[in-house]
Symmetry: C2
Subunit: 377 residues, 2 copies
């Protein structure tokens, strides 16, 4: 019975339920992959000459060849949210031509958006929309022209006398400057929160974390790269010396630490701990989503400030820590850090995304939970 | 000798010259494809279990398998500029994992940027940069939220009292709202022209041409689609009724026809003829790059205005027509139209891009030639 169940979940061949619909992450007009009401995905690809076709979407499934040369499989129910996936044709991992692509795991990848019943905080709605602006600027530190994305809230151009607080929001390892506005939908999440009066209008700056050589995106070309997969030495300096001054000179920001936040996911969370500890004069609001390591020491962290919870709470307006309930091991380190903070009486906000792992649904929800808390006092 | 040459160009196995470099269109860090000084590209992909691997980059090349499981090929010299390409693994056409992706031919595709010696008008330089803004808005005509890109020139935010003329710039069939700012580099071309004092600062609006079902991009989801591959009936109405009023209400435009241009490439050129003939009260500047059909009749076109060259020249400040010298057949129709205009004494500007076909290098050069002429009188 157990064996049968195991076999069934790794090589599903059931047809999708009749209520299946094309994934919203497909190229327009593509009918596959499609997702049914049980959140099972059916993949389909034409490969009459291939010997073996698989899909890697968390688990790996073997597709079955039909007489028409199409290979298909229906998966077990998928977790809600966005998942990277790949097709493996005779051992070669490639993208599904039916999918849009997303920069993740250091390359352009297919992605599937699994709807989350009753959860629409990241859906495009008929509300006023902000802009996501591609901004090029020269970085002296990197000695290169860099490229970041800047979210400006819906009324930015209509209220030319207003100034706004700024959230610097970083992606994870193997992702790049595009992550938060495509996979993450940061702009849509803020549009909806602002329209509902639940978050203050803010500017969000999405820069490139200056990832290891071969692991960065377009934004990191020519600058900020470091070998070995570690957060680049250059990025904190670029952010502090070049990005923040450029943003403050270009956009109508409120340019003090009380109106500046830094947050990031995974590697970006680790960078957030690193950068805010070294530059607490620059940021009063801190968020880390699924940081895998780099947690501040409770005795020495933040130059010893963490050891004085009262002084820390005065200096740090928000320390937001989150992860998904399905994250474990190193990826689950945030829970341990939260428990230590709790025990030491350090004021912070902890959030766990139910049922999700080290993936974008955890980080969308984390942003959705954190944004209403930002710049509120 | 001929056979040998033919064979050589279709199944090159020569190593690249020592001076080869990774293509700038690669995912950062990827060493292949690489291009040598003779503009020959070398492709390389690991596929130890595959029976046959090809690359389709204009011509189709067979790759040769090495003992290490890597398949490679070096092509004949490629034409300068941007080309879509695909890897064919055991008969399945997929993207090269080493390449960034670009929305073209109705799907996400690999692309290779072949450098053009001595031609750098579309290179990112140390000049002031404008922004490319992703703008969401509700279209009553489409009954959907749409998504377009808006280029604002470098000084837009610094000179809040200035107003700007607007160029509406359309992509081709199978491409979408992303084409002009990624493959086309429209923003970089304008940044460089404006910095050199060769073009006026302008706003560029890049909307989705509302292509056939399954041929559109994200921008067209939910609206403007028509079957059969023809320009959608809906797009002209969306542009006139919704997009232009939204742009004039949202950005600091000069909102009369003397300060509004419409241009497009391929299908976008055909749409430009269609829309400007029906709405000459809205546009005084017209550009078509590689339009394949839909050329106005010299007797009846523009409501008969074309038959009166003097009146036409008074109404239409610019009629810019272009194509590549390597375009033939229907794709070469612009030359025939130009010759007819010439013969009829209709004032226009004709440009031929030397050595290029129905591809982005033709359209980058066309924009670079046309932009300095816009809004100059």
């Amino acid at each position: 019975m157990l064996l049968l169940a195991g076999s069934r979940s790794w090589a599903q061949t059931n047809a999708p339920a009749d209520d299946s619909k094309p994934a919203s992450s497909n190229v327009p007009g593509q009918q596959y992959p499609r997702i049914d009401s049980e959140l099972r995905a059916t993949f389909r690809i034409k490969a009459p000459e291939a010997q073996k076709v698989q899909v890697s979407v968390g688990a790996t499934y073997n597709l079955t060849k039909g007489e028409d040369g199409f290979w298909t499989v229906t998966t077990k129910p998928l977790v809600v949210g966005f998942h990277y996936y790949w097709i493996v044709i005779d051992g070669v991992t490639v993208n599904d031509p039916a999918s849009e692509t997303f920069f993740g795991v250091s390359k352009v990848s297919s992605g599937i958006e699994v709807p989350s019943p009753g959860e629409d905080f990241y859906a495009v709605k008929a509300v006023p929309h902000g802009e996501v602006r591609a901004r090029w600027y020269f970085s002296k530190t990197a000695n290169a022209t860099r490229h970041c994305f800047v979210y400006t809230p819906p009324d930015y151009d209509r209220k030319p006398r207003l100034r706004y607080p700024v959230l610097y929001l970083q992606h994870g390892m193997g992702e790049d400057v595009r992550g938060w506005s495509t996979q993450g939908r940061a702009n849509i999440i803020l549009d909806n929160l602002i329209a509902a009066g639940k978050a203050k209008p803010i500017i969000i700056v999405m820069e490139d974390g200056g990832i290891a050589a071969g692991m960065g995106g377009r934004g990191s070309r020519g600058g900020g790269a470091a070998p070995g997969g570690a957060p680049a030495a250059g990025f904190p300096q670029i952010l502090i010396n070049d990005t923040i001054p450029m943003i403050d000179a270009t956009y109508r920001t409120i340019s003090d630490r009380e109106h500046r936040a830094l947050a990031g996911l995974s590697m970006g969370g680790t960078q957030t701990y690193q950068i805010t500890q070294a530059n607490l004069d620059q940021f009063a609001w801190i968020g880390t989503f699924s940081a895998p390591f780099g947690f501040p020491d409770l005795k020495t962290g933040y130059n010893g400030l963490l050891a004085d919870p009262k002084a820390f709470a005065k200096q740090v307006k928000l320390l937001f820590v989150s992860m998904g309930t399905e994250e474990a091991g190193r990826m689950g380190g945030s829970k341990t850090f939260h428990e230590a903070l709790e025990k030491a009486g350090v004021k912070h906000v902890y959030y766990e995304s139910p049922g999700t792992a080290h993936e974008w649904q955890t980080w969308r929800r984390s942003l959705h939970e954190m944004a209403p808390l930002l710049f509120q006092n």
